[in-house]
């Protein structure tokens, strides 16, 4: 099998699959200005969220760290920070750390430049200059071992655990065998399956850490004093045949394949040059989980779905894989890879895994995914654990 793709090799050695200027809002109150700037300049991607103010210091630190790690993703060649000016996010530290990382970064502060209209106008000029600078970056041939791939499932049903997740697991095994890096997560969807995952931990410390993040997630859910069913599994999962979180989890973890789990990453942590299979502590919800993998450095994400989830992500192309023949018929506009023949024609999981691996190479080299074609790429958030106060 072909093991090379055409990527953007950045100065620090990380390899991107896309070449964007990220218009990054540093607080929920700056989102609309960031959006207007992005709309004015082709080639920019919008990075927004609902965080950055009236939150406790531990969460403000997670938000600042997450934005720094996100800005380091190799799909972003330059960053324009859009700040309101009075937020809790540490925008000076963000600017300083991105600069130290060697990536072009500029900042516009709405309260300093005379309000939203001036910020949009000045910010758009800066974005145009950044875009013009990065647009000469060229793709070059690189080995698959330099790719970081995220793995996620969403709008799952019972076919996910039987077809799309095992097929994706087979692709993950190929990636790891070839020396690549893979990040999966959705800690909520380890509940009831942690006894299987921990057997694959690289050490007792990592096994203990997996139990810790699962217990933490379950404890937070239980503090509401209710059965979490309807929240997890969701009404859509339930309609698709998943009766409990345990059933959802047991079907979900197979998307991580069979390799050793090297370590557990915190939500705002970057993977860097580490190789192999890693867990990132994230919730199951798409905008927060996808952002978690991209924060880790994933420049492509595999996303299995049973009922059909449409969204992509601003920073990385999201490859949708579906094993439900009814969804493939009905929502083909959102499905990149159809693996329903595993269920309808007894096709092998290994063959479907190879098909997914070939698609990773193509998408990493520039082939557009359905979410990019449908222009459904702005759904994202940053996961925090504390209250808005």
């Amino acid at each position: 099998m072909k093991r090379e793709f055409l990527g953007y090799v950045r100065d620090n050695g990380l390899v991107g699959t896309r070449n964007y200027v990220g218009i990054m809002s540093t607080v929920v109150c700056a989102n609309e200005v960031a959006r207007a700037i992005k709309n004015n300049v082709k080639g920019c991607m919008l990075i927004t969220h609902h965080q950055g103010c009236c939150q406790t210091p531990p969460d403000l630190k997670i938000i600042t760290d997450s934005l720094i790690s996100l800005a380091k993703n190799p799909n972003l060649a330059a960053i324009l920070l859009v700040s309101l000016g009075c937020e809790g996010t540490d925008t000076d530290r963000i600017e300083k750390e991105i600069t130290a990382f060697g990536k072009p970064v500029k900042k516009i502060v709405i309260q300093k430049v005379g309000g939203s209209i001036n910020a949009i106008s000045k910010g758009s000029v800066i974005a145009e200059q950044l875009l013009s600078k990065i647009s000469s970056c060229k793709r070059e041939k690189v080995d698959i071992s330099r790719l970081i791939v995220g793995v996620k499932c969403g709008s799952s049903d019972a076919t996910s655990g039987l077809a799309s997740n095992p097929a994706t697991g087979a692709a993950v095994d190929i990636l790891v065998k070839y020396g690549g890096s893979v990040i999966f997560g959705e800690t909520t969807e380890f509940i009831g399956a942690e006894q299987i995952l921990t057997k694959r931990a690289s050490s007792k410390r990592v096994s203990k850490r997996i139990y810790e993040i699962v217990n933490g997630m379950e404890k937070r859910a239980k503090t509401m004093g209710v059965d979490m069913r309807q929240g997890q599994p969701t009404p859509g999962n339930i309609a698709g045949g998943l009766s409990s979180i345990e059933e959802k989890s047991l079907g979900a973890i197979v998307k991580s394949g069979s390799c050793q789990i090297e370590d557990v990453l915190d939500y705002s942590e970057i993977l860097g040059n580490r190789k192999g299979l890693y867990i990132k502590d994230t919730p199951g919800r798409e905008p927060d989980a996808l952002t978690g993998f991209v924060i880790g450095g994933a420049s492509v994400v595999l996303f299995t779905t049973g009922r059909g989830a449409p969204q992509g992500h601003p920073v990385a192309p999201i490859i949708k894989i579906c094993g439900n023949p009814q969804t493939v018929d009905n929502l083909g506009v959102h499905i990149d890879i159809d693996v329903s023949s595993i269920l309808t024609e007894n096709s092998s999981i290994k063959e479907s895994g190879e098909k997914i691996f070939r698609e990773i190479i193509d998408v990493a080299s520039g082939k557009k995914v359905k979410a990019e074609i449908c222009n459904y790429n702005e759904t994202m958030d940053i996961w925090v654990k504390g209250p808005v106060i």
């Binding site: 039987l162 009831g192 509401m224 004093g225 069913r229 045949g241 009766s243 979180i245 047991l250 009814q326």
Partner: protein, 100 residues
């Protein structure tokens, strides 16, 4: 012949259907090398489960060889198994708070 239902592990007491199935249908499922025929007691949608054998109230429901919850009523062979007769053992803040 196309498979109409699948059993993930030989320890399982439920099977998952791979197409919409009508009440009264006879379904053949393979469990390792054995093949058994079961009469389906409800209309069952793609992805949903039926019992491979009689399950007592309070028994564990097993899929993928692991517990996916507890039966909240007796379940007949061939009967649909879902949230009306299966409850999760995890994430139960209600039990912890003594509501249930």
């Amino acid at each position: 012949m196309k498979k109409r239902a699948v059993v993930c592990n030989s320890r399982d007491n439920v099977a998952t259907v791979l197409e919409d199935i009508k009440k009264g249908s006879l379904i053949t499922v393979n469990i390792e090398k054995r093949s058994i025929e079961i009469k389906i007691e409800n209309d069952i949608k793609l992805g949903h489960k039926f019992a491979l054998k009689y399950i007592n109230k309070g028994d564990q429901i097993i899929k993928y060889g692991e517990s996916i919850g507890t039966a909240t009523s007796e379940i007949k062979k061939g009967e649909w198994v879902h949230i009306h007769n299966l409850e999760s053992n995890r994430g139960r803040g209600d039990i912890e708070r003594g509501i249930k």
